[in-house]
């Protein structure tokens, strides 16, 4: 098998590091880049650098943001008594799309998965607990936690674990309804399904 010129091989190898990209796709992407104009390539590069420069994680909820705290955490109109816990930032976006939820969020950045070495310490659970501590007046504004992790075994285990952790704090802890396809990912749930899952949540 003949190799491409080194810069091409390098680009293919970089693409191959991306999730879900195999050799064939990497090759296709690399040749697409080769065919584009220099301006288009520069636009792509600067978009990549811009997210690396400007996007940070919100120090309160861990959502992706360009300002800290993020617009959800900073908003005065959102319901401060309820926090919806999700696995990834894109799960948050899916819930926002329903336009029915007006509370706060908390992004875990993953789910429990012992086979991948992901335990509670690898998830953003500690700063969730911090948010539930009473303030100077001895009060905690949060009344309910919605566990909106994925309806698969890892998401279920994560919700179960958090439920056991949060129940003793005297909060209402709910789990979104499982009208969603079992073993699925919230990423693929449409707005209607997502809305139903939220409104039919049950206390655990």
């Amino acid at each position: 098998m003949h190799d491409y010129a080194e810069p091409v091989t390098k680009l293919i190898d970089e693409f191959k590091r991306l999730p879900g990209i195999g050799h064939k796709s990497a090759q296709r992407l690399a040749f697409h880049i080769l065919r584009t104009t220099k301006e288009e390539a520069e636009r792509l590069v600067s978009a990549i650098l811009e997210v690396k420069d400007k996007i940070i994680f919100c120090s309160v909820c861990n959502n992706l943001t360009d300002a800290d705290p993020c617009r959800y955490c900073a908003s005065l109109t959102r319901d401060q008594t309820i926090i919806c816990v999700v696995e990834e930032p894109y799960n948050l976006v899916a819930i926002e799309k329903t336009r029915e939820y007006h509370g706060l969020y908390h992004v875990l950045h993953g789910a429990l998965s012992p086979i991948r070495g992901i335990g509670p310490e690898e998830l953003h659970i500690k700063n969730l607990l911090n948010r539930l501590r009473p303030d100077e007046s001895g009060e905690c504004s949060v009344r309910e936690i919605i566990l909106a992790t994925n309806p698969n075994t890892e998401g279920e285990a994560t919700a179960n674990y958090l439920g056991r952790l949060l129940k003793p704090l005297g909060l209402k802890v709910t789990r979104i309804a499982m009208g969603l396809p079992v073993g699925g990912d919230l990423e693929y749930a449409d707005e209607v399904t997502m809305h139903k899952a939220l409104t039919n949540r049950h206390e655990i």
């Binding site: 429990l112 012992p114 086979i115 075994t153 279920e156 285990a157 179960n160 674990y161 073993g183």
Partner: protein
């Protein structure tokens, strides 16, 4: 359901396609010419699994990236086309030319196979018997496959924790981590337990030992929690046992409790066949089980799955072959492979016979030759003659009855 056409591309040494008849099909040819590969291809199309290898790479032709299998199936008045694309590490399923999830793909072509592998069910480890049960269940309840996959996933996650815990200093902290997995193990495990109990009951109703003059045959689901408490309330019992044996699981470093430790007991006249049965009894028992599985399927869908027998004469003697093929008759589409020309000849009149050479179905030149000689009036009729009723052995067997399925050629 009728499998009409199977096509293979870059699959082992096969090439071209084969057309199958509604009743009996005999694929014959010398060893390593591809007769079993055609059967394997059909089984893969039905189940996405091979009965010959656990490594998909092995079925892909050397120097190719992927193998493609296609089938045309008639169900009632509906024509369906399925396609399985096999890569070195992935499989993709298509229905009528469109990519579909495997859960929508499975069930379009259902097959029951009698292969050398399957003998494990009657003489091997519990694992083979659990798989036999599970295959039967998701044949009639497709969603059971999801339950099973999730259970195995939970088990894998829990085992990873237990393995870690068995090497850790502070085992105590693992309780909180393991409980979320145990909760799912209990709910999914209970679903599996109940589904298997129900299926075993259905199987028992359909076991027909008299077919092979076998002794009384019964099956019994043997839960690994037997004798430990009230199995009627399985989820409570499993929860209780998990709590009680938590330390044992920590020490062992893997999961000790759940339906993945269960077994199916096959009794022949009160004796467990895997331990006390002769090899003949075991073969009969397996056939009886396979046919019962087929009947349960039929009770559910009012049609039969296709029946595959790899290397027909290697596992079964002539009498059993005859009884089996007569029983399957024209109702069940049956596809068998054999290396024996004599068997192909014996069933030539009521079967479609496919001669395989170098992976391809070709005209059997010997047969062509005989036909030419016959039409030329040559005196070769005492040789194996496709136009004749078959050899003397057939005549003898015919007298003992069981000839109702002899279809016109």
């Amino acid at each position: 359901m009728k499998l009409e056409l199977v096509e293979a591309i870059n699959f082992r040494n096969l090439s071209g396609s084969i057309e199958l008849a509604p009743g009996l099909n005999v694929i014959y040819g010398a060893n390593a010419q591809g007769k079993s590969s055609w059967l394997e291809a059909i089984y893969l199309l039905a189940t996405t699994k091979s009965f010959r290898t656990a490594y998909p790479r092995e079925v892909i032709r050397h120097n190719e990236n992927e193998a493609i299998l296609r089938a045309r199936i008639k169900r009632g008045n509906l024509d369906k086309e399925i396609q399985l694309l096999i890569g070195a590490t992935t499989k993709q399923t298509f229905v009528n030319g469109k990519r579909e999830a495997v859960t929508r793909y499975l069930g379009i072509l259902d097959a029951i196979a009698f292969t050398a592998d399957e003998m494990e069910i009657v003489r091997g480890s519990p694992d083979a018997r659990r798989k036999f049960l599970d295959r039967g269940i998701f044949g009639i309840h497709p969603s059971y496959l999801g339950t099973l996959n999730e259970y195995n996933r939970v088990l894998k996650q829990k085992n990873a924790l237990l393995r870690e815990a068995s090497e850790a200093e502070n085992k105590f902290k693992y309780q909180d981590l393991i409980e979320p997995w145990n909760d799912q193990l209990i709910s999914l495990g209970t679903e599996i337990h109940l589904a298997r109990l129900d299926y075993v009951e259905k199987l028992n109703e359909e076991l027909k030992p008299e077919l092979f003059q076998a002794e009384q045959i019964t099956v019994r689901y043997k839960s690994s929690l037997e004798g430990k408490g009230d199995l009627g309330d399985y989820s409570s019992l499993l929860a209780e046992r998990l709590k009680l044996r938590f330390d044992n699981e920590l020490a062992a470093g893997y999961s000790l409790l759940g339906p993945h430790r269960d077994d199916l007991e096959i009794h022949c006249d009160g004796h467990e066949i895997s331990k006390f049965g002769s090899s003949g009894q075991q073969r009969s028992a397996l056939l009886i089980l396979d046919l019962a599985q087929m009947s349960v399927y039929h009770n559910n869908f009012e049609e039969y799955p296709i029946f595959l027998i790899d290397d027909l004469d290697a596992e079964l003697d002539r009498t059993r072959i005859e009884i089996l093929l007569n029983y399957l008759g024209d109702n069940v589409q049956t596809i068998v492979s054999t290396s024996k020309r004599s068997i192909a000849d014996r069933y030539r009149r009521r079967a479609r016979t496919l001669f395989v050479q170098s992976g391809q179905v070709v005209e059997d030149l010997d047969i062509v030759q005989e036909k030419v000689e016959l039409t030329a009036g040559a005196e070769t009729t005492e040789l194996t003659d496709p136009a004749n009723e078959g050899g003397p052995l057939d005549e003898a067997e015919n007298k003992s009855g069981n000839d109702k399925h002899r279809a016109p050629f």
